[in-house]
């Protein structure tokens, strides 16, 4: 009966120190993608291949910029395939920020002629930035930093983000040591953590869950789906990102985001 405990004590602790943003990255690990080539044909091919419509070329005035939206990118790497590819994997975590727009990274294009390409991000009217998180009093933030209770809601993803969230409870990450814990009831929660695209059939459930949470409270969208819909985008069955339905305080890109990035994103919203 006691052998479980004895074995565990003999095997010892496995909890890891929090790595820096770039530490512990295997050379092959898929990360975020930076511009590698300004060649128009390479950009066109990348835009055509991108399953999440995360790449665009914007023209404003005389200047052209390539945009890659980490809030949409599903890290499939199709835009970085081959020697002449437009983008390259830089082995860094996808962006996080307080607005969906802040996850779009821009690269000036030299000598690019022609019209805009790809999706028009300016038309993307979502990005309902929450004022609630930004207005939290310092005393509240201070207490949240020492005790943060998270209610997770899968709004309709592939379940990849959920499994990564589940891994936060693995002894290697041991999220409890940071005062963070997952709770069963929205009444006990300080943060609503949304993963997955906002499906039609869960809109009401998301709104009701947030209504059931006592203030002060925060909403965080993790993973490309929860931010923009990811590969699922907008369709008859879904609305895209969670901020189409509720105001969101923090965004973390990735498909799925890695557990350490999730921990950093939770800290970011409390800064």
């Amino acid at each position: 009966m006691l052998n479980l405990i004895i074995d565990a004590l003999a095997a010892g602790r496995v909890t890891e120190e929090v790595p820096g943003p770039r530490a512990g990255w295997a050379a092959a690990a898929v990360g975020r993608f930076d511009l590698a080539s300004s060649a128009p044909e390479a950009l066109r091919a990348a835009i055509e291949l991108c399953p999440a419509e995360a790449i665009a070329v914007e023209r404003s005035g005389g200047k052209a910029v390539a945009v890659i939206d980490d809030g949409r990118c599903v890290q499939c790497g199709l835009c970085a395939e081959g020697d002449a590819a437009a983008f390259k994997n830089v082995h860094e975590e996808p962006a996080m920020g307080r607005s969906a727009a802040s996850l779009r990274r821009r690269f000036p294009l030299e000598g690019f002629e022609g019209a805009s390409l790809g999706p028009d991000f300016a038309l993307d009217a979502h990005d309902r930035v929450s004022r609630e998180g930004a207005r939290l009093a310092e005393v509240v933030l201070k207490r949240f930093r020492r005790s943060l209770h998270v209610r997770h809601l899968d709004a309709g993803g592939c379940n990849g983000c959920d499994w990564e969230l589940n891994q936060l409870q693995a002894p290697q990450y041991d999220v409890q040591r940071f005062g963070v814990d997952f709770v069963a009831s929205p009444r006990h929660a300080d943060v609503l953590l949304v993963t997955g695209v906002m499906t039609r059939n869960l809109e009401l459930a998301l709104v009701r869950t947030l209504d059931a949470m006592p203030r002060p409270r925060l909403v965080v969208a993790m993973g490309a789906c929860a931010i923009s819909g990811g590969v699922f985008g907008t369709s008859y069955a879904s609305r895209g990102g969670a901020d189409r339905v509720v105001a969101v305080d923090g965004y973390l890109g990735g498909c799925p985001p890695r557990p350490w990035a999730m921990i950093r994103a939770l800290r970011m919203v409390l800064e």
């Binding site: 074995d7 994997n89 993803g157 592939c158 379940n159 059939n201 869960l202 590969v231 008859y236 879904s238």
Partner: protein, 523 residues
């Protein structure tokens, strides 16, 4: 033997395969409407298993229905194809309960009506979906967001003295996907369970339409997060059948390796996860430790913790180096040792075993009637495994898997499902070793290619949860129709039959032992 079984199938259907049909990766027959019910009756009597119902509109104005079966010994799916106007198809669900959800789905998405259906309620659409709007029909493009109407879903209703109804979900207390469960119980004992799904319906099949194969594969990879490899391999095999692409041995073997590594991390994680249902916290933590190590190993091999971004059309997008393969094998071997220790804890704890034994029984009769696949079927003594039932498209795979004997148990309970997972994890490691050895002697090659831009194909893969059947029709180099039949789609209806007679607090444990994907089912 395969030839004899194919002749037998021809005799059963009463004709030769339809040679006008361009569907590859299957044995397709053309049927008239009135022939459907008798043919299906004979097929079920001959132990054919219902696999999928594919609705497609190659020409506007009519819906083609393909009833896909897996027949013993035929080694490719058997397709009974109907070309009919979208109304008045006789339902086969009474004779073949496995087809019930599939028929309901087709009538929701394509507007086909099935006469004589035992359960004509909507399935994919919830009560607020406007009547008469069929989102997968050609030319249907409703303004977004689709309007909501008021309506009510007719749940099954049980009345009686002391009977109470317990409604759970769609949002659950843990880190779990959404779905709605309605229990009718007397005290803590469950009389009945009704499962309501499709909260995470994202319209995957529609979204894939118009995409180039590479982008469609990225979408298929995201049908169900922990079966990324299996879903993309099944879709890639369907496309390759459609385009007559031959996959070189080196590529096919890497895919098989990824499939087995996916099974390994899933089964290891599931064994630990089971302990959340029994509150055996130390074993639960140990399972998470092992899974984390396997996910890190996946990342070292493929760049992705979920083994994404490697499967491509015609093979794999990037061949792992032999050093990568060796370290993956070392990692998998070490992980299996930990899994064995974990299993000792799970099965060696009397209090834990008491919880697992006799809980959540699913009879083999239910397995056969509902077309249940994967671990759940095998744990009820029904040996179905697409790695054995269906042929591999490449000879290299056939050799590796020639020695596979699918693990089965007869306990049909939570413990049996855990035992099958343990046995399969061992088998997966053995297969990985064989694959890596074989890869060392295999010459590298570029991925297979083709000049074709159109065609139809069926592809399959045995994912961690069971068989995946995927149909793809390509036109002008783009996906015109993607149809995914995930194992969870077949297994969700079965859980309704494993719960009655158990107590309410045992449901999470039984549910975990099924380990069903909501995303995979809802698409």
């Amino acid at each position: 033997m395969t030839e004899a079984a194919r002749k037998e199938a021809d005799r059963l259907v009463g004709r030769a395969p339809d040679d006008r049909r361009a569907l590859k990766g299957a044995r397709a027959y053309a049927l008239a409407l009135e022939e459907l019910a008798p043919t299906v009756g004979r097929a079920l009597a001959a132990s054919w298993r219902f696999g999928s119902l594919v609705a497609d509109q190659p020409r506007p104005g009519e819906v083609r229905l393909d009833y896909v079966f897996v027949a013993p010994g035929v080694r490719v799916p058997v397709v009974l194809g109907l070309s009919v106007p979208p109304a008045g198809v006789p339902s086969i669900a009474l004779a073949c309960p496995a087809a019930s959800w599939a028929e309901r789905e087709v009538s929701d998405l394509f507007g086909v009506t099935f006469s004589g259906s035992p359960d004509p309620r909507p399935l994919v659409h919830h009560e607020d979906w406007p009547e008469g709007l069929f989102p997968l029909r050609a030319g249907v493009n409703p303004p977004l967001p689709v309007e909501r109407v008021s309506g009510q879903y007719p749940f099954r209703h049980v009345e009686g003295e002391g009977v109470m109804e317990l409604r759970v979900g769609p949002i659950h207390a843990g880190i779990i996907e959404p779905g709605h469960f309605r229990f009718t119980a007397v005290g803590e004992t469950v009389l009945g369970l009704e499962v309501r799904m499709f909260y995470v319906h994202r319209g995957v099949e529609r979204l894939a339409q118009g995409r180039v194969p590479a982008a469609a594969l990225a979408i298929a990879e995201r049908v169900s997060g922990t079966a990324s490899v299996a879903h993309s391999v099944a879709a890639a095999r369907a496309m390759e059948a459609a385009l007559r692409i031959e996959v070189p041995a080196a590529h096919a073997l890497v895919r098989s390796l990824l499939l087995e590594l996916e099974r390994l991390y899933n089964h290891a994680g599931d064994l630990g996860n089971l302990c959340a249902g029994t509150a055996l916290s130390v074993a639960l933590a140990e399972g998470l430790i092992i899974k984390e190590r396997l996910l890190a190993m996946n990342q070292a091999l493929s760049g992705s913790r979920y083994l994404r971004n490697l499967v491509g059309l015609g093979g794999v997008r990037r061949a792992p180096s032999s050093a990568d393969l060796d370290s993956a094998l070392t990692g998998a071997t070490a992980a299996l040792e930990s899994v064995e220790r974990l299993a000792n804890g799970i099965f060696g704890s009397a209090t834990n075993l008491e919880r697992l034994s006799g809980t959540g029984l699913l009879s083999p009769e239910h397995v056969r009637a509902l077309g249940v696949v994967g671990v759940v079927a095998r744990a009820s003594g029904v040996r179905t495994d697409s790695r054995v039932d269906l042929a591999f498209p490449t000879p290299a795979d056939s050799e590796i898997y020639g020695t596979l004997k699918p693990a089965t148990e007869t306990g049909a309970d939570v413990a049996a499902r855990a035992q099958v997972r343990l046995a399969e994890a061992r088998e997966s490691l053995r297969l990985c070793q064989g694959i890596v050895t074989r890869l060392a002697d295999t010459d590298p090659a570029p991925p297979g290619i083709s000049d074709r831009t159109g065609g139809e194909g069926l592809g399959w893969a045995e994912g961690p949860r069971g068989e995946i059947l995927t149909f793809v029709r390509l036109e002008a180099g783009r996906v015109a129709r993607l149809r995914v039949r995930s194992p969870s789609r077949m297994n969700w209806p079965a859980i309704e039959h494993a719960i009655p007679g158990n107590i309410v607090p045992d449901f999470p444990l039984i549910n975990k032992s099924f380990n069903l994907s909501y995303a995979g089912c809802d698409l």
